[in-house]
Symmetry: none
Subunit: 249 residues, 2 copies
């Protein structure tokens, strides 16, 4: 995937705030090339404000008179489409679309085109696209805000960009090594001993107590530091029991 080959194209945007929010969404997800086809007002302070730290994206935005000007040099064009069209068109969701766009971006210029806030893209504009994109939404209220739609699509691109380097395996960055089986067994022995000491566990009628505690602590995968804390607590507890018994007897 080459993000430098991917552009976001906004057609006839009405609210400058949305343009700013799109710029921020793009930069958050590692994209920088914004094309504006006949925006109603641009530049505008509301766009700057909503862009927050992405004003460089706005500063480099290319303002075009027509959609053709914005996508003329592109080999792969995706148009967002809210409604069912009379003539069916290949319709992908944002995830599928991101995959296709990411692949194409390696060698080609890619455009992701978003329409007007109230009416989306016209049928003529959609006919210029290789694919149509639809973001799944609740039929009860299916109209996403423009910048939100851009956010979802660029997020899917980002997910592809980081695939492989994601914290999928949370355990990898853990701050202490996980406990070995041997140390876990020592802990369970110590735990059982202590529970007998404090008379919470009756060795004559142990029921399922140790089984439940084993399930609990194996589920969590204790690290060595946590194991030390728990064993420290057991040791202290045993001292108090000894002290109580000694003074008692």
């Amino acid at each position: 995937m080459n993000p430098d080959n991917i552009r976001i194209v906004l057609v006839n945007t009405t609210h400058p705030g949305n343009i700013g929010a799109v710029a921020r969404a793009m930069k958050n997800m590692g994209l920088a090339r914004l094309y504006l086809v006949e925006p109603r007002v641009f530049p505008h302070e509301e766009a700057d404000w909503r862009a927050a730290s992405a004003q460089d994206v706005l500063a480099h935005a290319v303002v075009c008179a027509t959609l053709d000007d914005a996508i003329g040099d592109c080999q792969f064009v995706v148009g967002t489409s809210a409604r069912e069209r009379r003539i069916p068109w290949p319709l992908l969701d944002a995830r599928q679309c991101a995959q296709r766009a990411a692949r194409a971006s390696v060698n080609e210029q890619v455009a992701l085109v978003f329409g007007r806030e109230d009416r989306g893209l016209t049928n003529d504009e959609l006919k210029c696209c290789n694919l149509h994109l639809n973001i799944p939404s609740d039929p009860a209220y299916s109209s996403l805000n423009l910048a939100m739609a851009v956010q979802v699509v660029t997020y899917e691109l980002r997910m592809l960009a980081v695939a492989g380097s994601l914290p999928v395996e949370q355990d990898e960055q853990w701050d202490a090594p996980f406990a070995t089986r041997d140390n876990m067994e020592r802990f369970y022995t110590h735990l059982e001993e202590t529970l007998v000491d404090i008379e919470f566990l009756d060795p004559a009628a142990p029921r399922q107590l140790m089984a439940r505690l084993r399930r609990l602590y194996s589920r969590v995968r204790l690290d060595e530091m946590e194991l030390n804390i728990l064993r420290g607590i057991l040791t202290e507890t045993q001292k108090w029991v000894k002290k109580a018994r000694k003074t008692e007897g």
Copy 2:
């Protein structure tokens, strides 16, 4: 997945426009339950405007004084986290998080918690969460707009809803209900009290002890039966300390 069991919780939101945009993002994706913990201003016309046709979500929003009030009855709590923490916590991306939340929502109350626009959630707030969520972004500009973050997470939930079938996980067939936040807090209070009693925890120099134990037990998601066992152990331990001290003095 049961969207009625999933709530979005916003903590200390500054801009009412963001609250409105969140309401719209939620409704677009089929969610309706919004909780606001100490919003700076609400209701507000800017919230209404940005909510567009999701003003019913705003009208039913629950305003709370504390985070505890908003999540006390929840069994599964996810907090959004931008930064690396001193003590690593299980960190999932939005997709993994949506899978876990969707599964939990079948039988449990689920909260997805989002922090302040400028500073996110505090460490104390993050400690109340079972999981931390991080949305992949470009390190060059990683701070997503609040409503955008909600959009991405709710979009991932929607993708699962339209996919139809979730992969089954162990949690669904668990033999006891998972503990609520309120009961977990009572457990932590009892645990801390007991550790002070046995002189394992020095209130004058607590270090990271409780933080580490909280991480351990939120990671595991205790069920109510396990919670009862652990609290039983604490109660017995405290009796022995009392006995030792009485005979001593």
